[in-house]
């Protein structure tokens, strides 16, 4: 019997075969992968995981593929740093930074979901992959498609800054700039996904794609010597990451790999695009779509597909979903860089700033463990911090001039 039972509607629970479909034909609810946990139980163990590859594929028994992994063989298993400096500053003895800003191959958490999506796409017989993206997802799909010999289409809004596109073009995908606003691009991509036999990673392959996020929870628990942390802080874009981190801890507990999971899964949004945090704060599960206006572009999803489910999980686990301003995001980036030597992009700034906000709200008790997820690399969004990091000392090429600035530095 296969470990994959099929796809199941998150709303009406209708069941479907594990094909490239993503919406329930009855109620239009989203589909997700259902597993035969009895089968997985007979295959998985801590020892087997520990002897597995040094990548996310060490958790292959809990990922929705049926054969040998073919894409992203070096993805995942990123460092989890026990923070000393930032932890001390914030008064947290057990603060851990899960650093996906050094993920392979494209320095973001998206490498996880794309590794799973493209491996599954190959299993399902696709030769073309596609996505709609303004940054990290495009990078990852383009790079992985190049290595795995897929034809690749990336759709972007035509007004996207040219710098963002360069990082994609180098992998030689077909980059299609769509004249129109974000709504137009969304609509077109949805239509293309229905029209062409392509693996659109975050549309018709989404049930498989999103499962890759669970590996962040798996790696976290393994790094903590097979325990779930007391708290995690997760950035929210579509909301999928938060729901899958929850699912990851639940699955590990269900299979007896960890026990006593009481993890509070806090969400982080940028105030300029915070439909999930706003709904959470007014104690509603109704999300009002917004037009994004924030420097945290990689989290700027105005109508998040999984926002409703993220709120439900936050409520169920007694967690908090907060939002932070653009200046707070910049401060968050600097706080992490200056204290831990980790340069994150704006999404990481959102997460660190939210962590600080939760500290100030007294959310964390002494002795509790807190894991903060850093999902992207600062080199990709350098322009956002340029005004806030100052400039180099300028001196004459003589010792006196150098000593002069040293004196200034001492003061």
């Amino acid at each position: 019997m296969s470990k994959i039972k099929g796809l199941v509607c998150k709303e009406c629970k209708s069941e479907y075969p594990a094909k490239a479909i993503h919406v329930c034909e009855f109620c239009f609810g989203p589909l997700e992968v259902a597993y035969n946990y009895d089968v997985i139980q007979t295959q998985i163990s801590k020892e087997k995981i520990q002897q597995g590859p040094i990548s996310l594929w060490r958790y292959v028994d809990l990922l929705p593929i049926e054969s040998t992994p073919t894409v992203g063989l070096n993805t995942g298993f990123t460092p989890m740093v026990h923070s000393k400096n930032l932890g001390k500053k914030l008064g947290l003895d057990y603060l851990y930074i899960k650093n996906d800003s050094v993920n392979s191959p494209t320095l973001s958490f998206k490498d996880r979901v794309v590794a799973v999506a493209l491996t599954r796409a190959k299993e399902l017989g696709f030769d073309t992959v596609a996505c709609a993206s303004t940054g990290n997802l495009a990078n990852s799909v383009s790079a992985n498609a190049a290595e795995a010999n897929f034809k690749c289409f990336v759709f972007i809004p035509s007004d996207l800054e040219s710098g963002k596109i360069l990082g994609n073009l180098v992998y030689k995908p077909n980059v299609v700039a769509v004249e129109g606003n974000y709504d137009d691009v969304n609509r077109l991509c949805s239509e293309i996904a229905g029209e062409y036999p392509w693996a659109f990673v975050n549309i018709n392959i989404r049930p498989y794609y999103s499962e890759g996020s669970k590996t962040l929870a798996f790696e976290t628990a393994e790094a903590l010597d097979w325990q779930a942390p007391d708290h995690v802080v997760v950035p929210i874009a579509s909301g999928s990451l938060l729901t899958k981190i929850y699912k990851g801890f639940q699955e590990f507990e269900r299979l007896g790999l960890i026990s006593g999971v009481k993890t509070r899964i806090h969400g982080a949004q940028a105030e300029g695009c915070s439909p999930v945090a706003a709904a959470f704060k007014r104690k509603s599960d109704f999300l009002q779509p917004v037009k994004p206006n924030t420097i945290a572009k990689s989290l700027a999803i105005g109508n998040p597909a999984d926002g409703y489910y993220a709120i439900k999980i936050a409520e169920e686990t007694g967690s908090i979903i907060e939002s932070v301003t653009d200046p707070e995001i910049i401060e968050g980036i600097k706080l992490l860089a200056e204290n831990e030597g980790i340069f994150t992009e704006t999404a990481g700034g959102v997460t660190v700033a939210t962590l600080k906000k939760l500290v100030n709200q007294g959310v964390f008790k002494k002795g509790e463990s807190v894991v903060v997820y850093i999902t992207g690399n600062g080199l990709k969004t350098q322009e956002s911090i340029a005004p806030a990091v100052g400039s180099p000392w300028l001196i004459q090429p003589n010792l006196k001039s150098f000593q002069h600035i040293l004196e200034k530095e001492k003061k």
Binding site: A132, P157, Y182, I203, A237
Partner: protein, 79 residues
């Protein structure tokens, strides 16, 4: 014939308006509601529009012009 799965979201000031009825009346599309959550103040409806693609486009534009938010059923897919 084409079909399009969409979610329409009602702001508070539009909640009383027969947006879906009007779409079916003013354009040659069949509207088929599958799931909804509507209160006296706000709400969303997931529905399918079936018809010629030009008529579907007109219906979507008409609904937007009437003041509701129209999105593909997948939500935003630009990540």
């Amino acid at each position: 014939m084409a079909n399009l799965k969409i979610r329409i979201t009602f702001p508070e000031d539009k909640i009383k308006e027969p947006i879906i009825y009007n779409a079916g009346k003013n354009y040659k599309v069949v509207t088929n509601i599958r799931r909804a959550d509507v209160t006296e103040k706000t709400g969303w409806v997931d529905l399918e529009l079936e018809g010629e693609i030009e008529e579907i486009d007109k219906a979507v534009s008409g609904m937007k012009a009437a003041g509701v938010i129209v999105n593909p059923i997948e939500g935003d897919v630009i990540e």
